[in-house]
């Protein structure tokens, strides 16, 4: 990531490097299941943060709590200093104008054309209208590399990569202050994944936007983010341990001593595979041969 751009955005901001998004002891529970517990993260204006972690660690829940799609069990989410869970409907709607959300599977409205999908936030907030709106839609689609002839098509007629780019165009249409990406490269081929990465970088260059990216894709996280936050599933934590295992610049990922972070970054199953192979009855193995071979390898390694 080009550090000068970050500095430029941060220094040009009238409010300086003050946090635009803050979570304070955020806890999310569903019944007896705890997904997030006391997660506190502060994201300065203009920064791009990648939130990584294994499936089920609560990354998407964190993202949805930030945008107010999910009401936390306890704790606070502040956007520009305001607790979003204390806002009334009208203020919340006004605040959402400042958010852009790129969903995992784009979440385009099936019943609408691409033009209507990208136009939706403009209509919702009443700005701008007519030819000006049309020009804006064409420009946003062009920014994500889509020609204007896709506009009359329905989302089902586009490929996965194109749908994601339409989702990005829709999120950008109101020039939001905060852009949230939920697994933007998941399910795409390596070339399309890199195109999406480049688009995220270009978006960052064009607009003074703060970005939060939830991803499993380490290549994407390293390429796009200024900072990486790694969450760990609450159920796997030791007592008193923080759910945030890592919170630093991407370069520090290779220097970390935490085994779990290393394991995730290098994509190694380690003891997790053995845990999965052992059934409820202790010692009763589903596939003993595989288990034995892993144990032998580990013994050999020692």
């Amino acid at each position: 990531m080009d550090e000068s751009i970050v500095d430029q955005i941060v220094s040009s901001s009238p409010q300086g490097p003050r946090a635009i998004v803050e979570t304070e002891r955020l806890t999310v529970q569903f019944g007896r299941q705890t997904i997030l517990k006391d997660v506190s993260i502060s994201i300065p204006r203009g920064q791009t943060v990648a939130i990584i972690g294994e499936s089920g660690c609560g990354k998407t829940m964190l993202l949805k709590s930030i945008v107010g799609l999910l009401r936390p069990t306890s704790g606070r989410v502040r956007f520009d200093g305001q607790d979003i869970n204390l806002l009334n409907d009208q203020d919340m709607t006004a605040m959402r104008k400042r958010f852009g959300f790129v969903f995992q599977n784009a979440a385009l409205f099936d019943s609408m054309t691409i033009h209507q999908n990208v136009e939706f936030p403009l209509k919702q907030h009443g700005v701008p209208k007519g030819k000006q709106a049309n020009r804006l839609i064409i420009d946003r689609l062009a920014e994500v590399g889509l020609p204007s002839n896709v506009m009359p098509k329905k989302p089902a007629q586009l490929s996965g990569g194109m749908r994601k780019r339409v989702g990005l165009a829709r999120a950008l249409i109101l020039e939001p202050d905060l852009l949230l990406y939920d697994e933007p490269t998941t399910g795409l081929d390596p070339i399309m994944s890199d195109i999406i990465n480049e688009l995220m970088l270009r978006t960052r260059k064009r607009y003074p936007v703060t970005s939060v990216i939830v991803t499993h894709d380490m290549h994407s996280a390293r390429k796009v983010a200024d900072r990486i936050v790694m969450l760990h599933p609450f159920s796997r934590l030791k007592p008193g341990e923080s759910q945030v295992l890592f919170d630093d610049v991407p370069e520090m990922l290779d220097k970390t001593r935490d085994r779990r972070v290393k394991q995730f970054v290098h994509g190694e199953a380690g003891e997790r595979l053995m845990e999965m192979l052992v059934t409820k009855n202790e010692g009763d193995l589903e596939t003993p041969n595989l288990y034995d071979s892993i144990r032998r390898n580990e013994t050999d390694g020692e």
Binding site: K64, V67, G68, L69, D89, T93, A94, R96, K97, F99, F101, F103, Q104, N105, A107, L108, F109, D110, S111, F120, P121, Q124, H125, R170
Partner: protein
């Protein structure tokens, strides 16, 4: 080996108590879940009514729903209405003929249609054709995060998705009911007069003498409530859809089944209410319920 009778009794008692506990627990769970669902539906309805009066729905959300509920349901409602009118004629003819009252067939067919079969049939067709589709569409939007997308862009999903569907159902079901009534009357007339050869003038006179404005009103009045129930139950099921294709399928099925049960239950209550009103206005009339 001798067994201790006290120990045996204790075990039996303990087993019975455990069994009773399990049954109580299971039924208690069902009751609690039922109360929670009822509370949830009431809140959902309240939110919908609040949005209906506080913000005007947009034209582009209203028109497609009005078209789907009103225009696209018309052929199937008209067709089934015609068939029901004819079936009533077939079923009643021989019994009425055996007592020499076949000319009264018009009164029976038309009264049954306008008071009961027309509104219930129109509502059933609407629940099957539109209600399950509503649940499936909203359910799919729920599982594919389209509802989250709506919220994230500042739109309220109840205002955007539920209010137009509710208005379409409530405002257009009376028209569908009138259509079902009309086509049923035409079907009954066709079969009775053209096929069975009942005297045309007597058939019409008896129909006119026995079927009054209040009968027609009661059918149309009930249909408003049926439309409201279909929209609320179907949208609620869609909003609470479980993930996956199975979840969407279940939501669509539940929307139809629950709407249908609610329509019939509501029909009893509304008939009792309308009957009470009828006898308050015309005390000399014969009591039906």
């Amino acid at each position: 080996m001798a067994t201790d009778p006290y120990l045996h009794n204790d075990t039996l008692k303990s087993r019975m108590m455990t069994g009773l506990g399990r049954v109580t627990n299971a039924w208690g769970g069902v009751a609690v879940q039922g109360i929670l669902t009822l509370g949830d539906i009431s809140l959902f309805t309240f939110q919908m009514l609040r949005w209906m009066v506080t913000a005007r729905p947009k034209r582009e959300t209203l028109l497609p729903n009005f078209y789907s509920v009103g225009v696209l349901s018309l052929p199937v409602v008209a067709l089934t209405g015609t068939f029901i009118g004819m079936v009533l004629a077939i079923q009643s003819f021989h019994q009425f003929k055996s007592i020499g009252m076949e000319t009264r067939l018009g009164a029976v067919i038309n009264m049954s249609l306008v008071r009961e079969l027309g509104p219930v049939l129109a509502a059933t067709m609407l629940a099957g054709r539109v209600g399950s589709a509503m649940a499936a569409v909203i359910g799919t939007m729920r599982v594919t995060e389209q509802i989250d997308a709506l919220i994230s862009m500042g739109a309220n999903p109840i205002h955007y998705l539920v209010v137009p569907r509710f208005l379409a159902c409530v405002l257009l079901i009376p028209a569908l009911t009138v259509m079902a009534d009309f086509m049923g009357i035409v079907g009954g007339y066709f079969y009775s007069v053209i096929v069975l050869g009942i005297d045309h003038a007597q058939y019409l006179r008896n129909s006119r003498d026995f079927v009054g404005t209040f009968d027609l009103f009661s059918g149309v009045f009930k249909s408003f409530f049926f439309g409201a129930v279909i929209a609320i139950v179907s949208c609620y099921r869609g909003f609470h859809c479980q993930p996956g294709a199975d979840g969407v399928g279940r939501a669509a099925t539940a929307a139809f089944v629950q709407s249908f049960v609610m329509i019939l239950a509501l029909d009893i209550v509304l008939n009792l209410f309308l009957d009470a009103i009828y006898f308050a206005i015309w005390p000399s009339g014969a009591k039906l319920f």
